[in-house]
């Protein structure tokens, strides 16, 4: 969901003391960079703590290891027939070795810090239980494998909807109070429901009753050969319902918010002035409405760009889509902390970089904004 808060924090242009632009920008960049990095560090650390349940997951893993070797001792005839003391010693040795191998012999806090360092350097390590489709335990590979499906689905729907929404919103802001405007205002509350919810309805109608579209999944089973035309068609067919569901859950509301937002800017004095001068509505729109709203549009677009990387656990579960969201849900179910943390780290970095860049973009597109000027409202 793109952020649609009207970014009208009063950016004051009062200069307190003369300072060269370079030092100001440099100092701001540094402070902002450090702040954002610390934010990522704290966020990722908290995720590590939560994902481990403050060390509880370690206890689960210890229990699993103990059970594994006790079982092994019973199943292995060579060990089973040893005297009890020797057998117990063998089990304990194996368990101790396993603890050491997985680093479980260290206290959780120490492990958490090592974990944090690895995560921040994007050394994502090996998963606990999950494997990639190619059979690898590398978290990097496990995550990489799921990125394309998520990007394809949420990227397509995101871009498509974003521009459709802006186009309709501009159109409606010109025809305030028209029939279609009223339709949008009336239907806006319909978007209170999330995408997966509409997904269930759409699956019911188009897959269960009409039987013209698939229930879920990304391609037909068995999948057509990759990069073939059939593969593409199959993918497209499987994307229709999810995209419809996303559209149903946000299109009207977004058009409504953008249209309201544009209306506020269309009632500025300088727009009235431009109208009085007799400029065409197209010129007014481009010069006086779109330009001051550009920072907000860019923010929204930037959040869309980050948003398509996160996936949606429930949505992907309902549509059986093999994306990142469903993967993180599966990872949680399997207590696979490295995968959970890996996805969080990637997301945090993307978010921090976007926020960092946004400040400069604002300054580029809006001459009223100065980099490092007073009061950046973005947290």
């Amino acid at each position: 969901m793109p952020e649609k808060t009207v970014n009208n924090s009063s950016r004051s242009v009062i200069r307190k003391k003369p300072e060269s632009t370079f030092t100001r920008v440099a100092r701001y960049t540094l402070v902002r960079g450090i702040t954002l990095f610390l934010t990522v560090v704290v966020g990722v650390f908290l995720t590590i703590i939560i994902a481990n349940m403050g060390g509880y997951v370690d206890e689960i893993r210890k229990g699993e290891i103990q059970e594994t070797y006790q079982q092994a001792a019973i199943l292995n005839p060579a060990i089973r027939n040893l005297p009890p003391e020797e057998r117990n010693k063998w089990v304990e040795d194996q368990i101790r070795l396993a603890y050491k191998r997985y680093g479980l012999d260290q206290p959780f806090l120490v492990r958490a810090v090592i974990y944090l360092r690895n995560a921040l350097t994007l050394d994502l390590g090996r998963s606990l239980n999950m494997t990639s489709d190619t059979g690898s335990r590398q978290v990097r590979l496990i995550i990489l494998e799921r990125i394309p499906p998520t990007l394809i689905l949420f990227g397509t729907s995101g871009f498509l909807l974003f521009f459709v929404e802006l186009f309709f919103a501009l159109y409606l802001s010109r025809r305030y109070g028209s029939f279609w405007d009223k339709v949008v205002v009336t239907l806006a509350p319909m978007n209170a429901a999330p995408g997966w919810f509409y997904g269930i309805f759409l699956i019911l109608i188009f897959a269960a009753i009409l039987k013209i579209l698939p229930f879920g999944g990304m391609v037909d089973a068995p999948p057509p050969p990759r990069w073939s035309f059939a593969y593409f068609v199959s993918l497209l067919k499987h994307m229709i319902l999810p995209i419809m569901a996303i559209a149903a859950s946000q299109l009207v509301l977004s058009v409504y918010s953008w249209r309201t937002f544009f209306l506020i800017y269309s009632s500025e004095d300088y727009v009235e002035m431009a109208k009085a001068k007799g400029l065409t509505s197209r010129a007014i729109e481009q010069r006086y409405v779109l330009r001051p709203t550009l920072p907000t549009i860019i923010t929204s677009f930037a959040f869309l760009l980050i948003g398509i990387w996160t996936g949606a656990p429930i949505f992907e579960t309902v549509f059986n889509w093999p994306g990142l969201g469903r993967q993180i849900y599966q990872a949680i179910g399997l207590f696979d902390v490295p995968v959970i943390v890996g996805e969080t780290v990637i997301f945090s970095y993307l978010l921090a970089i976007t926020l960092f860049l946004l400040d400069f973009v604002y300054a580029l597109v809006d001459p009223r904004v100065r980099v490092g000027g007073q009061g950046g409202a973005q947290g």
Partner: protein
């Protein structure tokens, strides 16, 4: 008070607000009635109960009211218990006989799934003996079974061998209702009054026998049943207060706390403000839904824990930024200056002078955010992380999804909770949108 009256009068001008308010009103009434009709403990017992509670219900059947829209009427599920006086009971102590007569009207166009007799007998040593005879409306007489009764005995017609031998072309239960003169391929159903007579011969004077006739139809109750024979009505009814409470409490907790924190930060400024902004930043990095899923999976699925975590993670959201920009303007207002000059305390200024100024922003936002939380609870339930004991709408959808309701055409199972969720969300959203236009007239346009 006057303010409230004025707001209500304004609201009356918006049809969508009236619609939203009336739906919310109905939901609140249902929400209050649910715990009165089915007390909390009873609801949980029912929802977790198995065959022993729900034996009288068939599995996976739609609600009874779908018959209103059908020309071919589906069989309704019903029970007749002689202990409750629903069957005629004649005790002939001279001949040591008890005769139980079950009479029912059958005007349906389909067959029941199953007919079962649950016998309860009291005797000392000698088991009583029963013979079951079926009387059709066209005067035929079909002996069904003769058997000795233990303390509890169950007779399932579908597994009755004698009937199976008698009705070779069809199933035992269907055969009882088919007109034998009709075509085998396209049988007609004999409609009218059916009678089942149980003649119990007892060998001891103290013997007593009661029997409950259970007919599993193709529709049941006002909400249908699920894969565990449970009446969905329990969860539909109890889901209402759960959804309302979760939605309202999360929305209220989040909005009010966000506003107060934002006011405190803006008022004190300096490091307090800085700290709040940094926490907001960190909160942006934290993955909201995965954390909720983790808490649900690792720690507790209790609705109260989930509610607390939801609020805790939502407080430092984007709302803080919006409130902050408003408070920054309010802080500079002359009346705040005046309050400060006469020595009002910080708490007084924040709570009495600053907070009320953002109420117009708060109330529409609060109402509009309710659906989001209602759906959040349902979303978690759909992932299988619903409260382990409470019956909720989301859990019905979850059950339906995991049991392939859509694949098998059991649409009522998904549609009932989904429509209720939709209506609830819609009602709050409509009211919120109208409130927004009343409190923030700028949005009404030129």
């Amino acid at each position: 008070m006057n303010n409230l009256k004025r707001t209500l009068r304004e609201l009356a001008r918006y049809p969508s607000a009236i619609f939203g308010l009336s739906i919310i009103g109905i939901l609140v009434i249902v929400g209050i009635l649910a715990p009165i009709l089915i007390p909390y403990e009873r609801a949980i017992e029912l929802w977790r109960g198995g065959e022993e509670i729900w034996y009288a219900n068939p599995r996976n059947v739609p609600p009874a009211w779908i018959n209103w829209f059908r020309t071919k009427k589906l069989v309704e599920t019903f029970t007749l218990d002689s202990a409750k006086g629903e069957a005629e009971k004649l005790v002939d102590s001279v001949n040591n006989q008890i005769v139980l007569t079950y009479t029912f009207e059958y005007n349906y166009d389909t067959f029941p799934q199953e007919i079962i007799f649950y016998f309860r007998a009291q005797y000392k040593q000698q088991k009583p003996f029963v013979s079951i005879v079926w009387y059709t409306p066209d005067g035929r007489q079909i002996p069904i079974d003769n058997l000795a009764l233990s303390t509890t005995t169950t007779v399932r017609f579908s597994q009755n061998e004698r009937l199976a031998r008698r009705f070779i072309d069809t199933s035992p239960v269907k055969g009882l209702f088919i007109d034998p003169t009709s075509d085998v391929k396209n049988p007609t159903i004999v409609k009218g009054t059916y009678k089942i007579v149980l003649t119990v011969t007892s060998f001891e004077p103290e013997t007593n026998v009661d029997a409950e006739l259970v007919v599993h139809g193709q529709v049941a109750g006002w909400a249908g049943t699920d894969h565990r024979r449970r009446d969905l009505g329990v969860a539909i009814l109890w889901g209402t207060p759960v959804a309302l409470l979760f939605g309202l409490m999360a929305a209220l907790g989040t909005s009010v706390l966000t506003m107060i924190i934002s006011a405190v930060g803006t008022w004190y400024g300096g490091w307090v403000d800085e700290l709040i902004q940094r926490i907001t930043g960190v909160n942006l990095v934290l993955p909201f839904l995965p954390i909720l899923i983790m808490v649900g999976t690792f720690y507790s699925r209790s609705i109260w824990i989930i509610l607390s975590v939801t609020i805790a993670l939502s407080i430092f959201g984007s709302g803080i930024v919006t409130y902050r920009s408003v408070f920054l303007q309010v802080k500079e207002s002359p009346y705040i200056e005046a309050a400060r000059s006469y020595g009002a305390s910080n708490a007084r200024i924040i709570l009495m002078y600053m907070v009320p100024r953002v109420i117009p922003l708060l109330i529409p936002g609060l109402v509009t955010s309710v659906p989001g939380y209602v759906f959040l609870e349902a979303s978690l339930a759909v992932l299988g992380l619903g409260d382990p004991v409470l019956p909720t709408w989301g859990k019905i959808i979850n059950d339906a999804q995991t049991n392939g309701a859509l694949y098998e055409g059991l649409y009522y199972w998904v549609l009932e909770p989904a429509v209720l969720l939709m209506i609830t969300g819609l009602a709050f959203a409509m009211l919120g949108f109208s409130l927004d236009r009343i409190f923030n007239p700028r949005l009404r346009g030129q």
